[in-house]
Amino acid sequence: MSRALSIGVAAVTAVLLGVAWLGWIPGVTSSTITATALRALALMGLNLIFGVVGMLAFGQAAFMALPAYFAGIMDRMGVPLLIALPLALTMVVLLARAVAEVLVRLPGVYLAVGTLGFGMVVEGLARAFPSWTGGASGLVFEHGRNFGTNVWCAIAVVSLAFGVGCYVWYVRGAVWRRLRAIRHDELAASVLGIDVHREKAKIFTIGSAYSAVGGLLLFHYVGVLIPEDAGVVRSLEQIGTLLLGGAGFLVGPIVGAFLVDWFFVISGYAARYELVIYGATFLLVVMYAPQGVSGLLLRPWKRLAGDKAEKAPVVEIRHSVAAVSSDSRVSGRPCLLLHNVTQSFGGVHALVDISLDVKAGEVFTLVGPNGAGKTTLFNIVSGVLRPTSGRTLLDGVDITDLPVHRRAALIGRSFQTPRLVPELSVLANVVLRVDQLSPKLSEQARQAIALEQLRMFELENLSYLSVAEVGLGQRKLIDIARAAVGNPPIVLLDEPAVGLTSAELMHLSEMIRKLKRQGCAVVIVEHNIEFVSNIADRGIVLDSGREIARGTVRDIMAEESVKAAYFGALS
């Protein structure tokens, strides 16, 4: 978000708050503001976890209730408030980190079940130990009564403002790009060098910290906490509130919390009809405003603001990506070595005893019919798969056990269908990889490097377009340019020529030659034989996971076994 925009938002918020505090909005009093602000603060956590990263967390209410329970228990044990509150928060954050460690690896529905289960456990424990937690009758907090309505209102608004400030400060630039990438495509993100699980665990922890702070304050303000407050129904209500406000938007939690609180006050007379009105409103929102009320409100604004915020001035490049520098490379030195690699999936052999040696500065091709094991081999080299047996060496170092994201600096990989993040600009998609390679550089420097990369591959005129505006062929070239950021020792290209026009094919050949000159070893999987014969130096032919030929491209094309398995009668 640009500075002007943040100032604008802050000003509008201040005016709205003032108007609300003065009681000019029917049904809104300072206590409404307090409750709304605290609830919005807690909701910001869910917004990070679910709205921004897309993790289905069904147990955030538990993270709101837990710190209040911890603080309440400590209070009963006589721990002073000023020690109990921070200690309770610390405990919850540590617990959230531990929960994240277990649950964040779970895919979609299982994460939902896991977090839902966590909420049920917390609710159940709160019920099961009434002597500590107040049980089903509720835990009473006395301390909150020491503050008057206006003091509480101030505490709530300041906390929320602080929460928003932290969010704006943290979720921008590299972090924003990373989170978008994870949300869109976890595999592509990890190949770019993002430690997806660690990032998700971090966001889960930070989000839960938001929930914890909001909950701790909210329950002290309310004065009573009952086990249901930790349960799944409350968690679902939170998701509903966030969606109403607009998931993924900075103001989504605030808008949602306000609308729900306000609706609750003004519908006081509706009695029996309340549920119907609520259900109908909710249905209308999800059907006709799937981006929530924030989406509706911000739509015209977004069109005005466009994506211009990203067009930062280009600074002169004094930095280069902190990967292996190309001068130290000697062409022809062995670079990638595979020793007797075998991969089997539940007894089915995808690769059998494959050994490879790819030298720096050469283009090496993997040839073979579909299902021969070429993509499996790519997955082993890039670390997506761990081979059943055999070793992978890169520049003499054994990387067999290195996770995907830690190989990313050494290995660039493009995909058969380019895996760019559609919500980001072309430039931002490239910066995404620079972020991982050179996290210490400034945002401007990273943008400059990415721009230089696009310029080198003659794609700079696309930089500020959104991915959706770029043709399929160009997307492939961008994906390849991105994979080659920082001249990694190895670049893996999966069917780069498929779907390219002849002009784009020429462009591609030029790109590959450039990579070669820079000392990268380029490994290509490709069916376009004409293209491969022109560009590749050596190769290996696979059939059903076994090597049937190797050598220079010319030699292997001529081999009889290859003809039979691959070319058939056509050649």
Binding site: R127, G135, S137, V224, D229, G268, A271
Partner: protein
Amino acid sequence: MKIMKFAILTLLAASTGAAHAADPFVVGIVAPTTGSLTTVGLRQLSAVQWWEKKVNAAGGIVGRPVLVVHCNDEGSPEKSASCVRDLISKGSVILLNASVTGPIRAAMPLLQNGPVMVTPSPNIVPSPASYVFQTSPSDVDLTKSIASFLKQNKLDRLAMLASTDASGEVGVASAAEVFPKEGIKYDLARIDLRANDASIQLANIVKPEVKVVFSNYSGGGAAAVVKSYNNLSLAQPLIVSYANISDAFINVIKNDLPTRLLGTGLKAVAPEMLDDPARRKHVEDFMASYKEMTKDNVDMLTLLGLTLADTADAVLRNVKDPRDAASVRTYLETNPVPSIQMLRWSKDRHVGMTADDVSVLEYKKGKWVKADPVQ
């Protein structure tokens, strides 16, 4: 003096523009009308609304109409607190709280300076220093009535089932307080609110030597207990709790009635048990008028709702300035309020009824009457 007072009042009224002579008395009521406690909230709310209509039809109280403002707390403490704040800001002179334990407890701290809040929940037992008054007897009193019923029948053994919610929890505590003192041995099992079946619990606690079973489960799920009772073909009399003395509950279990269905209830549920003819008439009039107005039968919860309305009625009629919370409190602490039974509060006790107001009743031929002895 009188003129002075009138002048001041008029001035006040003119300056605030709020207390015009025909302005209504605002009576706030918190009642869950959605969520899992809807049954509890709606019945009590309905009784209070019956009172509102009746009073206003008769020209209001001292010429002023009564305006009952309802706020739905959905059974959540957080919403209950906002409800109470909202109702206070709307100028409620007295608050009625027909919700349950947690939400009521969340509302209480907001009443440091009044207004008075009246609640029928037996689980609150408010501090005498507070502005909170409880109309019904406490859960301990209800448990005592069971103990004395057992003693009358020369029994010293009980099987008890309690849910995992707040009333179950309070019930377990009351049982631990009352039964050992009275020399009654009891086997206890808890049942989850979502349970489809209580036969595991019953199998664990109902032994041949146990002659009476008590289910302290107060929600709609209590039907599962009665039905499991039937599934296991148990023959012992079953005592159900306070909140289950209702047509709605009987309607759910009508196909599975146990051999003998008993329940702890206020004597007013069976008006013939009331000694005071004025109370009996009050209850019977209410039953008839309420049925005429709503087509519904009166049950325990509606009667408890009436205790709220009667308290508000007494305050509005007898306290000179009901907006003065302190004088309302003093009035309630010093004057008994005639309702379905007499509500007697004092400076030391904000609980309006005692164990003597409760009796074990029996469901016979479509009516709740005094329970017969157990062999």
